[in-house]
Symmetry: C2
Subunit: 462 residues, 2 copies
Amino acid sequence: MTKVAAIIGGGVIGGGWLARFLLNGWTVRVFDPDPEAERKISEVLANARHALPMLYETALPQEGELIFCETLQEAVADADWIQESVPERLDIKHSVLADIQAHCRPDAIIGSSTSGFKPSELQEKSDRPDQIMVCHPFNPVYLLPLIEVVPSVKTSQEHTEKAKDILRSIGCYPLHVRKEIDAHIADRFLEAVWREGLWLVKDGIATTEEIDDAIRYGFGLRWAQMGLFETYRIAGGEAGMAHFIAQFGPCLEWPWTKLMDVPELTDELVQTIADQSDAQSGAHSIRELERIRDNNLIAMMRALKQQGNAAGKLIKDHEQTIQKPAPLASEMVSVRRVIPVDWTDYNGHMNEGRYGQIYSDAADGFLGALGAGQEYVDAGYSYFTVETNIKYILEAHAGQKVKVLTDVLMAEGKKLKLFHKMVREDGELLSTCEQFLLHVSLTTRKSCDPVSPVSENLMNFA
Amino acid sequence: MTKVAAIIGGGVIGGGWLARFLLNGWTVRVFDPDPEAERKISEVLANARHALPMLYETALPQEGELIFCETLQEAVADADWIQESVPERLDIKHSVLADIQAHCRPDAIIGSSTSGFKPSELQEKSDRPDQIMVCHPFNPVYLLPLIEVVPSVKTSQEHTEKAKDILRSIGCYPLHVRKEIDAHIADRFLEAVWREGLWLVKDGIATTEEIDDAIRYGFGLRWAQMGLFETYRIAGGEAGMAHFIAQFGPCLEWPWTKLMDVPELTDELVQTIADQSDAQSGAHSIRELERIRDNNLIAMMRALKQQGNAAGKLIKDHEQTIQKPAPLASEMVSVRRVIPVDWTDYNGHMNEGRYGQIYSDAADGFLGALGAGQEYVDAGYSYFTVETNIKYILEAHAGQKVKVLTDVLMAEGKKLKLFHKMVREDGELLSTCEQFLLHVSLTTRKSCDPVSPVSENLMNFA
């Protein structure tokens, strides 16, 4: 049965949650009394519809139904997951949580997007605290996988584990924070860096742009794939972490004693930051910056996915849970996907090389159905492509949904000839490919006859 | 004339500097009395030779000459750039700098890799302080572009500007730090985060692995491409940075008052961190971790390059300064490059799609020579590929140097047929491609006859 998520409080964060659930096939009910809520949410959703499907080499599930509700009761009544993203004031949170619990199922998860409050604070007035926990996401919520899941001692283990399973099923990474603490984990780092950044601007050491450059051309790149400690483990070399700390610990202590108090947010400092930020980024609207950010994130996360590491590993794992391999058939659908932003070139359309990639994936889709998938490769056999003939019929663009239909032209011993048609969602033929493959032994890297089950399955095409 | 860099102090940092210069065609003279220096440097250099060329769609210049010197004098005598990477003790730095200045040219740049000392401290005992400045790199130095260039008031502007130009010419990004400060800019952030991280581990809130996950699945991805302030500008929305600070400034202040003192590095805390780090990363050797890190960085930086943003923009700009377009000729060399790690697939070889990409680049190389490069595209004309026939003859692997030789098979009006041969460094033919292109108007997206200068240049092939 289709699962139901209730989004209480729209905006950028609520909207991002909504998109995650909706694009993973959930029914989503929204309640937000703000008259602008529907417009704001539709903007976030447009970004998400553009971005999220591009992380995957397979189509996402059929999008769920989106329902704007007149009352909170209507939104939460039959929800499996309720996400609260209302303003960061404890009195408002208490009142909304009470309202939610008056109408929701006791087995539903109630996640709060709070970045500041501890779960025990949220639960203070509740007589069913077991279903309440912090589920703190990171903007853009529809792309960044991290969710800090923070239960208190009163949150039931059952609800916590269920929440983590659900988050994984919508492509998120639940980081179980085992002890509650102000600002959870990640925001503590953000605040430490924010504090240093404010000092550097205030003292005229660096502008906002220089600070951003100091981050994105250096340690930002390290952190995006390994974080802090693993990076330092490498710096420590074979001698290990204890050696690293012994060597660098004392060095690092020098400036620790300085700039640790909090700079006052005077009007002057605020204006300095705003002016520097205008000089740095003012040429772009926020919409444009969002699109630039999202395209960068998509491209980087896809790059990590190709390496099978860090956030890319998460996407790969999630993809396996949503991929529905088609059965072997003539004109089988071997690929169903969206064209990602990193596949286009200076002509503004999909680069010819990426057609080769989609047909390579199409061959993989067909070979998987034929019994020549990962297990067969692990057993030491595969097919290598020896010749392709590709016709480019219509231009294809980023964001378009496409599928590839695959047929067998010839199957004789080690020889296999496939014919692929790449078709747009509206049925237009974009391109065709004739692809000649040879069956090989991965040990000798030479051609050889197929073995079971491929040899038997090929009989269908003899 | 070939430029000369002197590397004083090998190790991971000195070795990384060495690789940057060497792989950009400089002669490099090294002095390091450590009997292990040559081994250590050769390990860093092996990593760099694998990694750095993969950032570019063109071959790097001919590698320079590497000379291990018996004396410091021999290393620095005729050097244009002298990079000091000796241990972080001011007395050692002073003594080495005095030795360098006793033997080097007064117009040479002397850069110090120090992460802790201010340039004025380094200059204390010098009577030629004008040539001394901090040039602080980030590990891995052969991949991360950031160099903090910190002159003091005694460093000459001429030397500072020359240093920045040289750094750009070897693919680095000189961040000019206008006021000297302890730990420069980036390390202040690293220390702030390190301090928070130590507290979280000490208080048992999170393990080293959980902290790394909190970074690399969330804000690390944001920072790798935009840094801190531009990210928050987006969070602030259309209302701008001042609004963002007004809204979130007070929230962020809450936990500021806590955990700001420095945790004591007791043996117990050091052991806890070392144990957690073993649990997190102990399955890999440091060599393996370096390779994983480098491959991730290469793939992410290439992804940013494809988007033309952040660190990728720097690489693109640098690439333009090293690209040597070949003149129009039959069998012209249209591509000369290394196969990067993100081009291989589960069969362990270059994916068939990437052959399409290299032949697309080959067409671009030929079209550039034909006069149909960026200017021609800006004027509204281009060539679209309508059909390719690719033969895959030998497997190609990451790290291999290849070139593509391009010939014209047919050039009639709007029709252009190219024939490409992809050849390995040792002369082996890897693949061929017949590529049929049509000249198009980018306004109508329809085919049309070429215009000047392409129409004239095509006469060579009529």
